[in-house]
C-alpha cells in the first residue's frame, strides 16, 4: 500500500525543493533565466530578427513602430535586428574572456602557489599589470596588433588575468597547509598529482563565481572599446558600435542609443546577479560580508 503512495508524494516534495531554491537564491534564478533567454535569442537571431545590415535611406531615424520595434538608425537599418545580432558578439566575447582568464589564472596560479621561484617573478609581473588601467592596456594592445574579434578578446583577457592568478594562488597557499595535502606530500605523491587531486577541487567554486564577474566586466570593456573605436570593426553590429554610430542623434532619435544601451545593461546586470547568486549558493561564508 504505502509503496504505491510514495511516487505520487515525491512530486510535491520535489516542487517544494525548487520553490525553496527560488526563495533562497532569487538572484541566481533571475540572472540565469535572463542569460538563457538572451543566449537563445542570439542563437536564433537569423530566424526571426531580420537583416541587421540592410540599409534603407528612405526610412532613416524612424521611431519604434509595429514594423520596426526599436525604430531605425541613421542609415535606415533596423535597430531591433542590430540589437539582437549585437548580443552575439557580447556573449561570445564575455564567455571567451571568462573561460580564457579563468583557465590562464588557474594554470599560472597553481604553479605560483607551488613553485616559489616562479611565484616571485610572476607575482611582480601581475602587480605591474594591475597598475595599468585595464581599458588603456586594452587600447594599446588593440592599436598595436590590429585585427578583429580574437585580438579584442586577448586585449580584454590580459588585463583581467592578475586578479584570477591572485585568487588561485591565495587558495593554493591556504590549502597546501591543510593536513591532507601535507599527508600527500609526506606520502611521496607527485606534485602534478597533488595539484590535480587535492588542490584543484578547492578552486572550482571560487573560480566559477570569479568567472561570472570576469564575464560581466569583459562585456562592459568590449562595449567600451567598440564605443571608442578601438574594438570590433564598425561593420559588425555590436552594442558599442551602435551607440558610437548614433552619438549625434541623441536628441533626434534617442532609441538608437538607448535600445542597445538597455540591452547591454540588462545582460551585464543578469551576469552580475548570477555571480552574486552563485557566490551565496557555493560559498555562504563569502556572502555574509558584502
Amino acid at each position: 500500500m504505502s509503496d504505491a503512495v510514495l511516487p505520487a508524494a515525491a512530486v510535491p516534495v520535489r516542487r517544494h525543493g525548487l520553490a525553496r531554491f527560488w526563495r533562497r537564491h532569487p538572484t541566481l534564478v533571475i540572472g540565469g533565466a535572463v542569460i538563457v533567454a538572451m543566449v537563445l535569442m542570439a542563437l536564433a537571431a537569423p530566424l526571426f530578427a531580420g537583416d541587421p545590415l540592410a540599409m534603407n535611406p528612405m526610412n532613416r531615424l524612424r521611431p519604434p513602430s509595429a514594423q520596426h520595434w526599436f525604430g531605425t538608425d541613421t542609415l535606415g537599418r533596423d535597430v531591433f535586428a542590430r540589437t539582437v545580432f549585437g548580443a552575439r558578439i557580447s556573449l561570445f566575447v564575455g564567455l571567451s574572456v571568462a573561460v580564457g582568464a579563468v583557465a590562464g589564472g588557474l594554470v599560472i596560479g597553481l604553479l605560483c602557489g607551488f613553485y616559489r621561484r616562479i611565484e616571485a617573478v610572476v607575482m611582480r609581473l601581475m602587480d605591474g599589470l594591475m597598475a595599468i588601467p585595464a581599458i588603456l592596456l586594452a587600447i594599446a594592445l588593440v592599436s598595436l596588433w590590429q585585427g578583429g574579434v580574437p585580438v579584442v578578446i586577448l586585449a580584454i583577457l590580459i588585463p583581467e588575468l592578475p586578479r584570477d592568478v591572485r585568487l588561485v594562488r591565495s587558495i593554493v597557499l591556504g590549502v597546501r597547509e591543510r593536513p591532507y595535502v601535507e599527508a600527500a606530500i609526506a606520502g611521496g605523491a607527485r606534485t602534478s598529482k597533488i595539484l590535480r587531486r587535492h588542490i584543484l577541487p578547492s578552486t572550482i567554486a571560487p573560480l566559477t563565481v570569479q568567472g561570472t564577474y570576469v564575464c560581466a566586466s569583459a562585456i562592459l570593456v568590449e562595449a567600451g572599446l567598440s564605443f571608442l573605436g578601438a574594438g570590433i570593426p564598425p561593420s559588425i553590429p555590436t552594442w558599442g558600435n551602435m551607440i558610437a554610430a548614433s552619438e549625434l542623434y541623441l536628441a533626434l532619435a534617442p532609441w538608437t542609443i538607448f535600445c542597445p544601451g538597455v540591452a547591454l545593461a540588462v545582460l551585464v546586470l543578469a551576469v552580475n546577479l548570477l555571480g552574486d547568486g552563485l557566490r551565496d549558493w557555493l560559498d555562504p561564508r563569502l556572502a555574509r560580508g558584502l
Partner: protein
C-alpha cells in the same frame, strides 16, 4: 613607522619599474618594427631610419630599455605622430580638465557612498539599505557611457537644466565650471559609488559587532556618534583602501566619460590618438595614468597611520 614608509616606497618603485618594462615590451613584441609604429602609417624610410638612430633601436634590448626609461623619467614620452608636438606638452594642456572631472567625481562619490554605506549598515535590510544596494548593483552593470547619454538626454536636452557637453575652465567662474562637470561626474561616479558604498557597509557592519561599540552605546553615545565617531573611524582602513584601488575604475571611466561629454582631457586625447593611429600618445598616457594610480595608492597606504594609530606600531 620609518621602516614601513621605506618598504612601501621601495615596493612602489618596483611596481613602477615593472609597469615601464611591460609598456616598453608591448611595443617591441608587436608585429612590425617599433620605429615604423612610432613613425606612423605615412612615414618615409628616411624618417624611420632617423627614429631608429634617435632611440638607439639598433642597440641591444636592455640598453634600449635603459635609454627609454631615462627619457620617461625626464618626462620625455616622444612626439605625437599626428601633430609633431611632444606628448608631454599635449598631456599638460589636457590635465586641468581631467583633474577637475576626477576631483569632482571623487568628492561626490566618496561623500555619498561613505555616508550611505554607514547609514545602510546601521539599518540593515531597511529602505535606505535596499535602495543603496540596488543602486550599487546598477552601478556595476550600467556602462558609464549609457548613463552619460541618459543624463544628457534627461537633464540637458529634455529639462534644459544643465549644459549638454563641453568644458569650461575654472577661471571662467565657479558655476560655469561646475555646471559642466555635474553630469559627467554623476555618470563617472556611479560605479565608484557602488564600490565604495558596498565596502563601507561591509566594514561598518563588522565594526558594529565589536565590544567597544556596545560600550559606547552603554555609555549613552547617540546613534550618530556611535556610527560616525566610533564605527566609521575604525572601519576607515578598508574604506580608504577601496577609494584608492577604485581610482583604476575611475581612470578607465574617464576615457569613456570625456568622450561622451566632449571634455578636452587626457581621455579624449587618447581616443583621438586611436583614430589617428598615434601610438606615442597612447604609450605616454598609459605610463602617466599608471604612475598616478600607483602614487595615489602609495599615499592611501601612508594615510593608514593617520586613520588608525594602531598601525603605527
Amino acid at each position: 613607522m620609518g621602516a614601513y614608509i621605506g618598504r612601501r616606497l621601495l615596493a612602489t618603485l618596483v611596481v613602477m619599474a615593472i609597469v615601464g618594462l611591460i609598456v616598453f615590451l608591448l611595443l617591441h613584441l608587436a608585429p612590425g618594427s617599433p620605429a615604423a609604429i612610432i613613425a606612423g602609417d605615412n612615414a618615409t624610410p628616411a624618417q624611420i631610419a632617423l627614429i631608429n638612430r634617435q632611440l638607439g633601436l639598433d642597440r641591444p634590448l636592455p640598453v634600449q630599455f635603459g635609454l627609454w626609461a631615462w627619457d620617461v623619467l625626464r618626462g620625455r614620452f616622444g612626439t605625437s605622430i599626428f601633430s609633431g608636438v611632444p606628448v608631454m606638452e599635449l598631456v599638460l594642456q589636457r590635465i586641468p580638465a581631467t583633474v577637475s572631472l576626477s576631483l569632482v567625481t571623487i568628492v561626490f562619490a566618496a561623500t555619498v557612498a561613505v555616508t550611505g554605506g554607514v547609514l545602510a549598515a546601521w539599518r540593515v535590510g531597511g529602505v535606505l539599505d535596499r535602495t543603496l544596494m540596488a543602486i550599487a548593483a546598477l552601478g556595476f552593470s550600467v556602462p558609464v557611457f549609457v548613463v552619460g547619454y541618459l543624463l544628457i538626454y534627461l537633464f540637458a536636452i529634455r529639462l534644459r537644466w544643465l549644459p549638454v557637453q563641453g568644458y569650461v575652465p575654472i577661471s571662467a567662474g565657479l558655476w560655469p565650471w561646475l555646471s559642466h562637470l555635474l553630469l559627467p561626474a554623476l555618470a563617472l561616479g556611479l560605479a565608484y559609488l557602488a564600490l565604495i558604498s558596498r565596502i563601507t557597509r561591509a566594514a561598518v557592519l563588522e565594526v558594529l559587532a565589536e565590544d567597544y561599540i556596545r560600550t559606547a552605546r552603554a555609555k549613552g553615545a547617540t546613534s550618530m556618534s556611535q556610527l560616525f565617531h566610533h564605527a566609521l573611524r575604525n572601519a576607515g582602513v578598508p574604506i580608504a583602501t577601496v577609494i584608492g584601488i577604485g581610482i583604476a575604475l575611475l581612470i578607465s571611466g574617464v576615457v569613456l566619460t570625456e568622450t561622451v561629454f566632449n571634455i578636452p582631457g587626457i581621455g579624449r586625447l587618447t581616443v583621438d590618438a586611436i583614430t589617428n593611429r598615434d601610438y606615442p600618445i597612447i604609450q605616454g598616457v598609459m605610463v602617466i595614468f599608471s604612475g598616478a594610480y600607483v602614487v595615489i595608492n602609495l599615499m592611501v597606504d601612508l594615510s593608514y597611520t593617520l586613520i588608525d594609530p594602531r598601525i603605527r606600531r
